[in-house]
């Protein structure tokens, strides 16, 4: 049985796709088409299923009816007003949280004493689900924008604080030594070394933070009520108008996409030295 058979393994030249432009173009077109076609087909299926009664249209109204309701809401002026209010709450809280979080992160990153004094307390508070403190803020500020902005600020603060502090602590000594050897300290050290060295990591924190800021705003609007995209979704449920809820959900998603996209773009703009993996592979 055990007859050994000698074989020759040949590594044949198989042209990589990149060297065959026509094949490559066809492949790229297919990929792009699939990316759009899959969700379109699924939404189409939903539409047909809702219209033919295969699924309960009260829970899953036909996408077209949600779109129509959304357009109506824009014409009524309600939707844009709610978008404006939600965006305002997200952005004010986000900016405040970022400023305070960055200052705390840099301060604690650069000063071991400050870190020893504040880190245990902040780390303990970090584990508190932020939405849990909304009732406190509601009591303090009453039913207005203020408690929502406050809770977004607190949430974003923790993200930016931790990303900044860890980035500052992780700055390789070599960079600090290189600057120190030229007599650099204090503000110049911050400006030329600490700030730019921590920026890529802070940009990640900002990107994560903006998503969480929107999440917290929408969920707070469920509770606080009165206005905002979150309230719109929640209220539609109460009135059993789920087309409105779906229109609200899509709106919330769009706000998220726009915010994330903007922050990501800004992040790349302020850290031009961070070369992406793809462009490095392309030999740049």
């Amino acid at each position: 049985m055990n007859t050994a058979t000698a074989t020759t393994v040949t590594r044949r030249n198989r042209l990589p796709l990149e060297t065959r432009p026509q094949r490559l173009r066809r492949r790229r077109r297919l990929e792009a088409t699939l990316g759009i076609a899959v969700p379109v087909v699924l939404i189409g299926l939903w539409e047909v299923a809702a219209r033919l009664g295969w699924i309960n249209a009260q829970f899953f109204p036909a996408p077209s009816s949600s779109v129509i309701r959304g357009v109506e809401m824009i014409i009524e002026g309600r939707l844009l007003a709610d978008i404006g209010i939600t965006a305002y709450r997200v952005l004010v809280g986000y900016v405040l949280g970022t400023i305070i979080g960055f200052a705390a992160g840099v301060g604690m990153g650069m000063s071991p004493l400050l870190r020893k004094a504040l880190e245990p307390m902040l780390s303990a508070l970090y584990t508190v689900p932020k939405i849990a403190i909304l009732p406190i803020f509601l009591t303090i500020f009453g039913f207005s924008d203020a408690p929502i902005i406050a809770i977004v600020t607190v949430t974003v603060f923790f993200y930016i604080w931790i990303y900044t502090m860890e980035a500052v602590v992780a700055i390789p000594n070599g960079y600090l030594d290189a600057a120190k050897s030229f007599g650099v300290k204090g503000w110049a050290m911050f400006r030329h070394v600490v700030f730019p060295a921590s920026l890529p990591s802070v940009a990640v924190g900002l990107r994560v933070g903006v998503g969480v800021a929107l999440l917290i705003t929408i969920s707070s609007e469920f509770i606080v009520g009165g206005s905002g995209v979150g309230y719109l979704i929640f209220n539609a449920r109460a009135l059993f108008r789920l087309e409105e809820a779906y229109a609200g959900i899509v709106t919330a998603a769009l706000i998220g996409v726009i915010l994330q996209g903007t922050i990501t773009w800004l992040g790349h703009r302020v850290t031009p030295w961070v070369v992406s993996r793809e462009s490095r592979a392309a030999g740049l």
Partner: protein
């Protein structure tokens, strides 16, 4: 500078750096590591001193003390400065020397900017050193897009742009390939011979130490103390061809035979 007397006249030169009973201990109690010393040393004005020794012998520590990055545990280091340069001491490191977030030109400008030279004067000076180190055309590139050799040129340009009285180099060519290292050694020889500034050059290569240095300081295994301090007899201007001569190889062999035992001590000492 009279090149014929370059190495012969070392003893007559005024000392630029005077190391007296220098010791460095990291940590305290049981965890204390005696890294360096006691060591006494005098480095002449305009001298190129190569420093070699087994890994962990404190070669880098010595340059960090001179750079003011580490305070001595015991003893003192006197540095006599004429006060003529923008920054009196500049360092070229092996890694993490140049800032990835600054372009080539911004990196070279760095030492100028932070020492009060700004505007077009800083740009002109930086541009000159960019030119001198063969980096023209790369001014606006970020270091990550440059080869290791180019990055180290940026580091050298940045150090020289402040026209320091003392240049400290801590294994600057260690992560480069052999051909590139020889090329940069040649460039460094030219630069040193034209400006005659005091250089402390840490390396783990005896060959490099001999090609570049006026003297070679050999340190013992940790804690690093003076094992050998040899005048390098090769006349300047020197090229790296000097390494082909018999004298060169005899000298390298002699230094290696001294160093070999120390390397052994360093290795077994660490393992126990």
């Amino acid at each position: 500078m009279n090149t014929a007397n370059h190495s012969a006249g070392l003893a007559d030169r005024p000392a630029k750096i005077e190391v007296r009973d220098l010791s460095l201990v990291f940590g305290v109690g049981d965890k204390a590591v005696h890294a360096l010393g006691p060591i006494n040393l005098s480095v002449g004005d305009g001298e190129f001193l190569s420093i070699v020794g087994p890994s962990g012998c404190g070669k880098s520590t010595l340059t960090k003390v001179v750079a003011g990055l580490l305070p001595p545990t015991k003893g003192e280091v006197d540095i006599r400065l004429a006060g003529t340069s923008i920054a009196p001491i500049a360092t070229v490191f092996q890694d993490y020397g140049i800032f990835p977030w600054k372009t080539v030109l911004e990196n070279v400008k760095f030492g100028l900017t932070v020492n009060g030279v700004t505007g077009s004067e800083a740009t002109d000076r930086a541009a000159m050193w960019v030119q001198k180190l063969g980096l023209a055309g790369f001014e606006n590139r970020y270091p990550s897009s440059l080869s290791g050799g180019m990055q180290q040129r940026v580091s050298i340009a940045r150090a020289l742009a402040v026209e320091p009285e003392i240049l400290l180099m801590d294994e600057p060519f260690a992560s480069l390939d052999a051909q590139l290292r020889e090329l940069l050694q040649e460039e460094l020889l030219r630069l040193h011979e034209s400006d005659g500034r005091t250089v402390l050059f840490v390396t783990h290569s005896l060959e490099e130490a001999l090609v570049l240095g006026d003297r070679v300081l050999v340190l013992t295994a940790r804690p690093g103390t003076l094992l050998d301090l040899k005048d390098v007899p090769f006349a300047r201007p020197r090229t790296s061809e000097v390494r082909e001569s018999r004298e060169f190889n005899e000298m390298r062999y002699e230094l290696w035979s001294h160093l070999k035992d120390q390397v052994h001590i360093g290795v077994t000492g660490d393992a126990s």
